[in-house]
Symmetry: C2
Subunit: 431 residues, 2 copies
């Protein structure tokens, strides 16, 4: 059968992993697909010493690949937004299928990319954009396609999970672990995307659109990072039976869809709480199947390459099929997306862990609990920690309540003369 | 677009779950697939009070469904071997696609079924045959298709896992938990298939063929049940830092493929060791992606129905495509299966936990350790337990060694005058 020809744009970490796996496992892959997959061309500004590309057609201008008449599938692995978008759109206009690992590109420009792909009758695949090697997009679009998805919650940023795991297991503080993560190459020199949750929000946006069949709406995701999580909070959470994880959560409610990334306390005996280090996992709760967990490496050259190649194989298996019933980019047919609104964080309901400093004198706890009660919030536990300081830590766990009410309570507590500074809050979920 | 019409044969647990989910989520599914999926006919000997089939064409003769010219996909949910095989072959001969949840049928007759399907250019899908609602077959055939699979290890029988979990968590013994499982409906009146590992071996056979691209060879699987696992062993394992799980393991080695189901001790801090109750999980170790874990409900009406419908949706998405590159039943093209041999248990290498009774007198441990050393086996730990009896429990942990050598050592230990009865062995894996 006619071989399928791919052009790889970008030869960084993921590019070299993709090249190496595709080359090393060529025979196994051909046995699966029934045809050869040939690397027709590579577009890269420079060579990568980790892959031996001798004999492969290499161009320094990635746009060459998008217009190469021999190329069936353009693989975009350059990252970033502007050039990547130009490349992908040019490839689509030239009738190429596209595989991309670029979560920012899909989360921000996915809607227009999918529209162009539909118009040009080509496939755009992006399994590698979320949770690296875990085939979670395929699971949601196909494996669980019979289900209404109730909620999904994912550890989808390996850097953040590495930092929180180290803080929890070794009692270290955020900044010292971050420095180590940077030295180990887990975190970028500018760690903002990872630790402030932007990377996770990109991925969550994609997962939520697939789960619920809504357009990509990255700008509506609530995003809170882990840089303010303290060693103390990790310790207090442990004492209460919880772990703090940086989760991306999407949930279907009566009024819309929750879309939020924030540090979250979850019971420590759950599987998700025990996903440590740089590993990723996504817990899906669906109406027919119940809970499923999808766990694996969230990054890495070959792990991400594994997902890139899975997309290439999918396209190769269907390349001669013009059936418009084929799996749509978001799993739902493009003209069947729903307009369920994304909810604001104020409307979202969770449990809360509060950590504040209060003067150690009679009546202070009564003042605080009165405010909370008056705001319609039920307290599950309250603990006053010992301390030699004038202001001692007070820890509160509350039942589920809409965030708006909690915001009111926190503002009033912070205004008390008997409390010091701001109230730290971590949302609590029993997944 | 033209609707796709299914005929459901069998209206037991899975049949009713499939009917109910397909009916309840019809709109969501149509949004995904782009066409309606209609239940054209049901073949069932009797009605099921759990589903309201009013208005649906019901026949008491399931073979009517296989020849109904209106039916595109025949869904075989009657279970068993003989009648199910006849039904599936008749459906295939009549040009119907087939979806089945029947693990025994696929493990034992899969090769001939797939050959007939290929000849008649129809799809046979069986996601629901392994691990209920977990999309593990899709993950192996498609999501991880870029990889060489090194090994897979699965908790793929919920009944067995429920029993072992209860034994571990509550110190109960095998037979009392089994009785409870039967009362709860988790175990059949004849529990042999579940507790003796036959059900797990059916599923493992299927997973291994997909992982390695070899023909289905159920008769070569090594199968050992959990009925001999004692409360003492569960307790000793715990003290040594392990849990006992009933695993199906397939591993690629230099000389062939290991295919084995047996009680296995695994370190207690691993995710797989913490999969409890009736839940299932499959850990896959692959060359590019590393380890992935796929966790969820292994049985249940709607969980299994979820997988049945995922197969229906896959077929509906591709029903007009005659592309022979479509996903083959075992993921590998049927004419590209390999003849890697399935290895005998004697050739398999694992660590071992041994539990024996030895006379409490000088020199006995020396005798035992000499036998083990002479057989070329390295001991990792040896513990003599206290007891008031004449013969006291001795626990040994060994390093990895081929089973043949261990069989020799066990035979010699059992022949000693200073030991009593037989040596209990549980294989140890660090997955």
């Amino acid at each position: 059968m006619k071989p399928v020809k791919v052009g790889i744009c970008g030869l960084g970490t993921v590019g070299s992993g993709t090249f190496n796996v595709l080359t090393r496992n060529a025979q196994e892959i051909e046995r699966r697909v029934g045809c050869e997959i040939i690397i027709e061309q590579i577009g890269a500004r420079r060579d990568n010493p980790n892959c031996i590309t001798t004999g492969t057609n290499i161009t320094r201008d990635i746009f060459d690949v998008a217009v190469n008449p021999e190329v069936d599938i353009v693989v975009e692995l350059i990252g970033g937004n502007d050039v990547a978008l130009k490349l992908v759109m040019l490839a689509i206009e030239n009738g190429k299928h596209v595989v991309t690992a670029n979560k920012a590109l899909i989360a921000v420009h996915g809607n227009e990319i999918f529209a162009a792909a539909k118009k040009n009758n080509v496939t755009v695949a992006f399994e590698s954009a979320v949770a690296g090697g875990i085939p979670i997009i395929k699971a949601l679009r196909e494996g669980l396609a019979a289900n209404k998805i109730n909620s999904l919650a994912g550890i989808i940023n390996g850097t953040g999970n590495f930092i929180l795991s180290e803080m929890q297991q070794k009692g270290r503080d955020f900044s010292s672990v971050l420095s180590e993560a940077q030295a180990l190459g887990y975190a970028e020199a500018d760690p903002t995307f990872d630790v402030e949750g932007i990377d996770a929000a990109h991925k969550l946006t994609i997962l939520a659109s697939i789960a619920y069949g809504v357009e990509l709406q990255f700008d509506k995701a609530y995003t809170e990072g882990i840089s303010k999580v303290t060693t103390e909070d990790v310790q207090f959470a442990d004492e209460l039976g919880y772990r703090i994880k940086h989760l991306g959560i999407a949930r279907r409610t009566q009024t819309g869809i929750e879309l939020r990334v924030h540090p979250t306390m979850i019971p420590k005996d759950t599987l998700l709480a025990n996903v440590n280090g740089v590993m990723n996992a996504v817990l899906v709760d669906a109406d027919a199947v119940g809970q499923t967990l999808h766990y694996g490496a969230g990054a890495g050259d070959e792990a991400t390459g594994s997902a890139v190649i899975a997309d290439i194989i999918d396209i190769a298996r269907n390349i001669n099929s013009a059936d418009s019933r084929a799996v749509a980019p978001l799993g739902f047919q493009t003209d069947e997306l729903s307009d369920s609104p994304i909810m604001s964080m104020e409307e979202t309901e969770t449990g809360y862990y509060l950590h504040l400093k209060a003067a150690e004198k009679p009546g202070v706890l009564a003042e605080i609990t009165k405010i909370i009660g008056d705001c319609g919030i039920n307290i599950e536990a309250i603990v006053q920690k010992e301390s030699d300081e004038e202001y001692v830590p007070v820890i509160l766990l509350t039942q589920r309540v809409v965030e708006r009410k909690m915001n009111q309570a926190i503002a009033q507590i912070e205004a008390l003369e008997s409390t010091l500074g701001s109230v730290a809050r971590i949302r609590v979920e029993h997944l």
